[in-house]
Every structure is written in C-alpha cells, then in structure tokens.
C-alpha cells in the first residue's frame, strides 16, 4: 500500500515558509514596498533602489523583506527576487495569455502566479532532478495560438479515424506507429501538439 496522503501547504513548506505569516507581521512601510515590488514585477521588473529611496521606501523596509525571506538582493544590491518572481531565469517559466513572461522561484510559485496577476497563463517547467521537459496540457484556444505560431499538430488516433475527420493542418502518426522512424517527419526544433479523441 502506498503511504501517500494529502499534505497541507504548511506541512510542505514548513511554518517558517508560510507566506501568510511572513507577510501579516510586516511593518506598513515594508508591506507597501513589497506590494510595489510585486506590482512592478508584473510590469516587467522590480524598481531600482534609487527609486525606492525617493519614495521613502529605503533600507529599513528592504531589510525587513530580506529578513523575512520575502525578497532577495543581488550582488549589486538591487532586488533580484520577490516571491514568487525572480529576475533570473529559473526552471519555472510562466507565460500569460497576453504574451508576458515571468520566472517563478519554484513550481508552487509558478502555479500561484496566474492568480496573482489575474491572467490565464501557461507554465513551462523542467523536472529539477533530471532537467527533463514537462508536457503541458492546453485547451482549444491555446492550441490555435500554438499552431498559428508554427507548432506541429499530430493526431495519434488510428489512420481511419484521422481520414474520416481531423483538425485542420494535423498530420497522423498513430500511437501504435510512433517511433524514431515515424517521428522523423516532425521537426524537433519546433513545438509539437499531440491529441487523440479525449486524452484517454
């Protein structure tokens, strides 16, 4: 028997990492600073220290964010990380429906980011241990965007079902025939979208 069970967020992250507690006790200035930094991240990147000083959100507020591990500074003293955002590439990229792209600090941060920015988003991640790509499930709207941007569409149902009816532009590689030889008709450098009848 598996000993898998449902865990709470606190159990996964630990009490000291639970963001609600880390944010609730913030000094009002530090809270204002944190909100500003997150807002600026959604617009493309964090504010620089000079701007923060001009706004009266100086060293004390930043120190508090760093102390509570809500932000991290880079070697140049500028804000490099404010959870969930990172200025540096990570294995967890979040791309919004409007084409903006963000780096998330971890998989959980990536999952929360669409809610934070109030936009549907797609997450591209790599498995930390093996660095293998992770396949992403998409809907019909995203499918059309991907195909319009050059993705290859592959129906993996048997040939007779494909011949009867398929999505526009799809090619057919039945699952039972999918191997190194048949896959050669696909370009490895381009995105591939696979589909069957209903995923089963």
């Amino acid at each position: 028997m598996s000993d898998l069970r449902t865990a709470t967020i606190t159990e996964i992250l630990g009490d000291d990492r639970w963001a609600a507690d880390r944010v609730c006790g913030l000094d009002p200035n530090a809270r204002r600073l944190y909100a500003l930094i997150l807002y600026r991240f959604t617009e493309g990147g964090p504010p620089d220290r000079d701007e923060l000083s001009r706004l009266g959100l100086g060293d004390d507020a930043i120190s508090e964010l760093v102390e509570r591990d809500l932000a991290q500074l880079g070697p140049d003293g500028q804000v490099a990380v404010a959870y969930p955002f990172s200025t540096m590439p990570t294995p967890h990229q979040v791309r919004t429906q409007h084409g903006q792209s963000y780096w998330a600090m971890c998989a959980i941060d990536a999952l929360g980011m669409p809610y934070l920015i109030h936009q549907a988003a797609e997450i591209r991640a790599r498995e930390p241990g093996s660095d293998r790509a992770i396949t992403i499930a998409i809907d019909a709207h995203r499918l059309r965007e991907l195909v319009a941007s050059g993705a290859q569409l592959v129906e993996v149902l048997p040939e007779d079902e494909y011949r009867e009816e398929h999505l526009p532009g799809a090619i057919n590689i039945p699952l039972k025939e999918l191997d190194a030889t048949t896959a050669q008709q696909l370009d490895q450098a381009r995105a591939v979208v696979v589909y069957c009848w209903d995923g089963l």
Binding site: A140, H166, V194, G199
Partner: protein, 157 residues
Amino acid sequence: MSPRAACRLEALGFTEIYDYVTGKADWLARALPTEGAEPRPPRVADLLRDDVATANLPERVADVRPRVDESPYGFALVTGRGGVLLGRLRRAALEGDPAATAEQVMEPGPSTIRPDTAPAALARRLGERELTTAVVTDPDGILLGIVRLVDLDDCES
C-alpha cells in the same frame, strides 16, 4: 492515448510538447472547422440558428420583451460575460413586472446540448420530451444558437 504519445515524443528527444488533452471531442463540441472525408455525418452545428432574443442580467423585462416579440420564439436567453448562457426568460416572466431585471426573473441553468450532437438523436430526445427547440452551447457554456425540431426532422428526411 495522447499523454502516452507525448511521453514517447519526450523520450525521442522532443523538448517542447503540448497535449491537447480534451482532443477531437472538445474541438467538435466547439463547432470548429475540420478536414477529412466528405460528406461527413450531419451535426446539429449545421442547423444552428442565431435568431433567438438574448438579454443581459441587468436588463429590464420591458426592454427585452419587444425583441422576443420580433423573434420566432416565445423566450429569451440570458447571457453573461463572454456570451456564457446563464438563464432563460420564459413568456410568463416576460409578461410579469416590466421593471424586473432579467436576473430576477430568469430560470437559471437551462438544459443545453453541444453542436456535434447527431440530429437524429436530438430529434428523438426532443420528441420524447415534447420540446420544439434545443439550446446549443460550446463546452465553456458560450451560447452558439438554437436548433429547431422541424429542422432536425427535415434533415432526417
């Protein structure tokens, strides 16, 4: 099937792979275009009509009623953000308080079908329930139109 195909492609060295999990069933249920052998089997999508009166939640009954009077049907459909079907305004509601809003007097959550339904199957269902129309939405609940029993019968014959 497609999750296994995605896994196989990954093992073959592909790095950017997407799985349209809901697949062809979802595509057809959205009445999106397809390619393939002709003629394909008839579907309700071929018989869709867009002449049903619609209303927004805050609209007053007095403002909706003239549109229903001009339409071939004795009811209006209430839609929300993005055209999602939320309710139906029946004749009795339309003949009630003219100051009431659609939201106040609508019948919420009307039954719907998908556009890839076979006309013959739908004709049987409508006949059994003594209905003359069916409301068609896509899988997201977006109103696509109305289909009439008389058109289904014509299609069959």
